[in-house]
């Protein structure tokens, strides 16, 4: 009796129809994911995989290469130009990110106060972000021009300098000039995002802190900054990734010059692979960026993990 009761439904399991299989939760989930997965594979995984594969070949333009193992990497690691590019990229990313963060935070705090013409100033601040990068790069190219630089002209008129400054011709001048341009372009994104974060901080927290006896600085240090850290982590991750992979500004302003002192890994990869035709080496340079980027993402991932104080319900906040 009981045997029959257990065995009776068994055959039905094997008779599951195609229609049933189509409506199974897991199968259905798979079908729904398929288009997105196909897109990702086609446009993300395939190019990335191809890039990494090429870095292990001696491919050149017009000639598919053969597998050469780590030869490309051995070569670039020993190449002083590559070492310089790594240094330049780290220097560029670090200095520009720190400056962008400091200026962006300062602007955000300024804009969070009651200012006259607030809406107008906010709109103005976004301008560098809206202008296409190449366009602003060309504008900076003029600003930094050895002969027609408006900066040199202005400083000369004020009597602060006697001759034009060679912004892009001198190694350190060039490095600082491209960083300046990058900061100019990157600050709005950070300022506006942090401003959005600042506006979520309840004003009564500042009032409570005032009554608790906090000075302006203490209020920033103990209230604003800790509450803002999750947003800072997100925005700075993006900023670091964008800066590390920057290409357009450098390409237009200096194209890596003078003598490779502003060459970044991204521009060097392009110049080697596309202009120099050595696709394998170029791909290896690109691939060498991946560990750095992963490192940056890991750091922010740990910073981004929901802090304990963010957990729990939101009611009565």
């Amino acid at each position: 009796m009981s045997d029959a009761a257990i065995s009776a439904p068994m055959p039905r399991v094997f008779e599951r129809s195609w229609a049933q299989r189509m409506t199974d939760r897991n199968m259905l989930g798979f079908w729904f994911m398929l288009p997105a997965a196909a897109f990702l594979i086609l446009f993300l995984v395939y190019p990335l995989g191809l890039g990494i594969w090429l870095s292990f070949t001696d491919a050149r333009i017009g000639r598919g290469g053969v597998f050469v193992g780590l030869e490309n990497y051995e070569w670039i690691l020993g190449d002083s130009k590559f070492q310089l590019a790594v240094f330049n990229t780290l220097f560029y990313t670090f200095v520009a990110s720190v400056l962008k963060f400091a200026i962006g935070l300062y602007l955000a705090i300024l804009l969070n106060n009651h200012l006259p013409f607030k809406a107008f100033i906010r709109a103005i601040i976004l301008v560098p972000f809206i202008v296409p990068t190449v366009l602003s790069a060309i504008a900076f190219w003029w600003i930094f021009d050895p002969q027609f630089s408006v900066l040199s002209w202005g400083l000369r008129k004020w009597g602060l300098i006697s001759g034009n400054i060679d912004f892009l011709g001198d190694p350190w001048n060039a490095r600082l000039s491209v960083i300046f341009a990058n900061v100019w372009r990157g600050v709005p994104f950070i300022a506006i995002t942090l401003l959005a974060g600042l506006q979520t901080v309840s004003p009564s927290l500042y009032e409570a802190a005032t009554l608790d006896g906090a000075s302006k600085w203490q209020m920033f240090r103990h209230v604003t900054y800790p509450i803002l850290t999750p947003i800072i982590a997100v925005v700075m991750t993006f900023s670091v990734l964008f800066t590390f992979t920057d290409f357009q500004l450098i390409k237009v302003l200096t194209n890596g010059g003078p003598a490779g002192t502003t060459e970044l890994m991204a521009t060097m990869s392009y110049n080697t692979a596309i202009l120099g035709g050595r696709i394998g080496e170029g791909a290896a340079i690109s691939t060498a960026m991946i560990p750095f980027l992963l490192g940056a993402i890991m750091i922010s991932w740990f910073g981004l993990q929901r802090r304990k104080w963010q957990q729990g319900s939101d009611n009565n906040d």
Partner: protein, 352 residues
């Protein structure tokens, strides 16, 4: 601890004056409640005491010191906000210790004071939690704890119970009152709930549109309201108002019936007068005025009845159980000693 003196204080936001000359004396250790309808300027007045709003004119003194130009942190006051304003990224203990940490107090003293305050408020087991992990009532207690550790001259509360449910509100009311009896710190407490005001205050200040309508002990306000506004605001269910005029030794109501008056003020004869009568001051008496029963609401301990007589509706509350049904008529009389007469135009109280 200290007294608080508010002298002819005015507050204007731009051209709009919100508070029109308020004077209140708060004695050392007193529990004063500012009560009034929404938008009458209670919070604004409290924030001026705290120093979060500047004072347009007049003077506020804490103790002997006029604080008009003293920054908030030097006023030695602690405030509990309506939304509690707990720092979300600090634990309960850190929230409470924050003011001491800013002052640079030593760790042992900080821990001791937090411990003590937590014990008073029953927060000891919650000290390591973050505000988000607390219930509304617990957050409310943390906000009070943050005030208590400061051991300030004056406590300021801005509607601290309005986010809580009815039951918790009653419980916290008792707790706050007990706390005050224990600490005896001068307290200014804002609410728009007149029951809170009646049950907790040593002194109630009734505000309306930026002025003080009346201040005094809760029962004084209840027994002898100075004007129509206070009469209608204090007490629940609200006082009944009957329109009419003084006629000889009685009150001739608009509906054509007459109510007895204890001592009719002479000058008011013939003028429009409002007769105020609290629901619990209506009795059933065979000689009374006939009134139609509209609704009967028994609450168990008492019976609330909506009556209509001469076209005017009244609410009566009887301690005894009532067998009357809607549509029936019952005879009612006011208890004479508790009848209030107000001038219908100025709203001023007329009888002694």
């Amino acid at each position: 601890m200290a007294s608080v003196t508010i002298r002819d204080v005015r507050k204007a936001f731009g051209a709009v004056e919100i508070i029109h000359g308020v004077s209140i004396d708060i004695a050392d250790g007193e529990f004063v409640i500012l009560v009034g309808p929404s938008g009458c300027g209670k919070s604004t007045l409290l924030r001026m005491i705290a120093g979060l709003e500047n004072i347009t004119s007049g003077e506020i003194a804490i103790g002997d010191r006029v604080v008009n130009n003293v920054p908030p942190k030097e006023r030695d006051i602690a405030m509990v906000f309506q939304n509690y304003a707990l720092y979300p990224h600090m634990t309960v203990a850190e929230n409470m210790a924050f003011s001491m940490k800013l002052r640079g107090a030593d760790k042992a003293e900080m821990a001791a004071r937090v411990e003590k305050a937590a014990k008073i408020l029953g927060l000891t087991h919650l000290l390591d939690r973050y505000p988000r992990q607390l219930s509304g009532g617990q957050r409310q207690r943390v906000a009070m704890g943050r005030a208590i550790v400061r051991d300030p001259q004056v406590f300021l509360f801005d509607e601290p119970l309005s986010n809580l449910d009815a039951k918790l509100r009653v419980q916290m009311r008792t707790e706050i009152k007990e706390l005050h009896q224990r600490l005896k710190t001068t307290t200014v407490y804002v609410t728009h709930d007149q029951i809170e005001a009646m049950t907790m205050a040593d002194k109630i200040v009734v505000m309306h549109d930026g002025i003080v309508e009346q201040m005094g002990a809760p029962l004084d306000l209840y027994d002898r309201p100075d004007n129509l506004f206070v009469a209608g605001f204090i007490g629940s269910p609200a006082m009944n108002f009957v329109k009419g005029h003084i006629d000889g030794q009685g009150f001739a109501a608009e509906g054509g019936f007459t109510l007895p008056v204890g001592s009719a003020p002479a000058a008011s004869a013939g003028r429009p007068v409002v007769y105020g009568l609290r629901p619990e001051h209506i009795r059933i008496d065979a000689q009374g005025i006939p009134a139609e029963v509209i609704v009967v609401e028994p609450t168990g301990s008492e019976t609330q009845v909506v009556l209509r007589t001469g076209g005017q509706e009244m609410i009566a509350v009887f301690r005894e159980r009532l067998s009357a049904r809607p549509g029936e008529t019952i005879p009612i009389v006011p208890t004479l000693a508790n009848a209030h007469l107000f001038d219908a135009e100025t709203g001023r109280r007329l009888n002694a």
